[in-house]
């Protein structure tokens, strides 16, 4: 792999950019791998990357039915934060956020991590109490957050109207180290690093069946033929239920559509991320100048990757009160992704009833921020069969009532 650098850009500028390599190799599947990861989104690629980097396991294939990073990795609103209430969540999300800080250097790929700060707005008394509690919990967990008053919110985000009649801003939970990153670059950077370690990233290769012998996984059947493996990692987000069905077990997961939209590009107006959880509106400004708006999920199961228009209307209607300038903007694009939601709104990183199959799913509406931490933990789980970061996130926790309840703590949003 040729390293990217300022020198490389200068060198290529001198020869009409004819010397760039493919970022990752296009490969056909081999007969057998030590580990197959299903799903070449951020989480799947990060899992493969840390399998190689931390555990030296490089005989790995990453199978993708569509194109690399074309699912939720390319459809989210790129928010990165770690201000969760419960200890297991804080541990894995903070690990993740800290890995984002050095990701560009680690991968030699600019993921444009921008720790611009994230406010979660409190617009009801309930949220005020909830976020103060989260701030105290974060202090104990070693996650730097603080409760800020409305004047400070206004100072951080001058375009905000804090005196709205329906949703006045009563304060906020501020995480200065949160921010955004370029979502596609995260997938591309990991894919390039995986390919460089000799792993095979195989696109347009859909898994059609999971082969087992004596309760242990032995391989998968795909649209590119049968491939053997010792261990199988299912990291397919919205389609986790479909994959679990192939493998012969059920998951406590429902797949629903989540939407986002962007406005026309405008001059810099807002240099932080604001999450208004009461109204399900999440707002930031991209480097291109578009206002990036995340909405709420639909309430019913859906695999169509498009959501209901009325959710967009509800989100924008509520945001206009808090951000009056939005009323004058045209919206450019709207899209949806299929998110896998668990009963307690926390993810599943777990062994499964089938020996050798591991599952990483249930990130629901907030998976992007967790990509490096999830990959780090999942790699350890696959390599060693156990990881301190994943212990609490077993798929069997529901049976025992050991929930990691973030649906209340995070005010629904993720």
């Amino acid at each position: 792999m040729k390293r990217y650098s300022a020198f490389a850009i200068a060198r290529e500028a001198m020869r009409n950019h004819t010397g760039w390599d493919r970022a990752w190799a296009k490969r056909e599947p081999k007969k057998k791998y030590d580990v197959i990861i299903v799903g070449a989104g951020g989480h799947g690629l990060a899992t493969a990357y840390y399998l190689g980097k931390n555990f030296g396991i490089t005989n790995v294939a990453i199978l993708e039915k569509g194109w690399l990073g074309g699912g939720n990795t390319g459809r989210n609103t790129t928010i990165i934060r770690s201000n969760y209430l419960q200890d297991p969540s804080a541990a894995i999300y903070e690990k993740s956020r800290s890995l984002y800080e050095t990701m560009s250097q680690d991968l030699n790929y600019n993921v444009m991590f921008s720790p611009r700060g994230v406010i979660m707005l409190a617009q009801t008394q309930h949220e005020v109490r909830g976020y103060k509690r989260t701030a105290h919990a974060n202090a104990l967990q070693g996650v730097t957050t603080e409760w800020i008053d409305p004047a400070r919110v206004k100072e951080l985000c001058p375009i905000m109207n804090i005196d709205g009649p329906r949703y006045p801003v009563l304060g906020g939970l501020w995480q200065a180290r949160g921010g955004t990153a370029r979502h596609d670059a995260v997938a591309w950077g990991y894919a390039r690093a995986c390919s460089d370690m000799g792993m095979d990233v195989i696109q347009q290769c859909e898994v059609k069946g999971v082969r087992q012998e004596n309760g242990k996984v032995v391989g998968v059947d795909t649209t590119k033929g049968s491939i053997d493996c010792d261990k199988l990692g299912l990291v397919v987000a919205g389609h986790s239920g479909v994959m679990a069905q192939m493998a012969g077990f059920r998951l406590p997961i429902e797949s629903v559509a989540l939407q986002a939209l962007v406005s026309e590009p405008i001059k810099p107006a807002m240099d932080i991320v604001v999450m208004a959880n009461t109204v399900h509106g999440y707002l930031s400004q991209s480097d291109k100048g578009e206002m990036v708006i995340g909405g709420g999920t639909d309430a019913y199961n859906n695999y169509t990757q498009r959501g209901s228009f009325h959710h967009i209307e509800e989100t924008v209607r509520a945001l206009v009160e808090t951000f009056p300038m939005l009323a004058r903007l045209k919206m450019l694009r709207q899209w949806g992704g299929i998110v896998d939601v668990t009963g307690d709104r926390s993810p599943i990183l777990s062994k499964t009833p089938v020996d050798g199959i591991f599952v990483n799913c249930g990130w629901g509406t907030g998976g992007f921020k967790a990509i490096p931490g999830s990959g780090w933990a999942m790699a350890e789980l696959i390599a060693k069969g156990q990881s301190p970061l994943t212990d609490e996130f077993s798929m069997f926790r529901f049976r025992e009532g050991k929930f990691i309840d973030e649906s209340v703590a995070a005010g629904v949003a993720h």
Binding site: H239, S240, G241, V242, Q245, R250, L251, P252, I253, E254, S255, D298, A299, Y300, N301, N302, Y303, T304, S308, F309, H310, T342, G343, F398, R399, E400
Partner: protein
């Protein structure tokens, strides 16, 4: 936007008039049941890419619960029927079979 026919008041209701209530035909478990059964009832869910049965409430209408047979992959609606039943009526099953031969869902097919 989804439009579902309310089997009680006969209105074709927009999604915004309705409230989604999750999986239909759940078997309720009580205090005497095993942990596995209770887990199944409370958390494990059918999550098919295809034929699905759901509970809906006509919230801004008659306020009653009904059940719907729907495809989660195409958003096609096969039909709706009253909630006071343990399994989908035969005519709905026939409609699904005509469009999705070989379908199955939980114990139904």
């Amino acid at each position: 936007m989804l439009i579902l026919h309310c089997p009680y008041c006969g209105v074709d209701a927009d999604e915004t008039d309705l409230h989604a209530g999750g999986e239909a035909h759940l078997k309720r478990e009580g205090p005497a049941s095993s942990d596995e059964d209770f887990e199944d009832y409370l958390f494990m869910r059918e999550n098919p890419k295809g034929v699905h049965f759901e509970r809906w409430r006509h919230g801004y209408g008659c306020g009653k619960w009904f059940l719907a047979a729907r495809c989660t992959n195409t958003l096609e609606v096969f039909g709706t029927y009253p909630a006071q039943t343990l399994e989908p009526p035969q005519d709905i099953k026939d409609k699904i079979t005509a469009k999705r031969p070989g379908w199955s869902w939980g114990n139904f097919q």
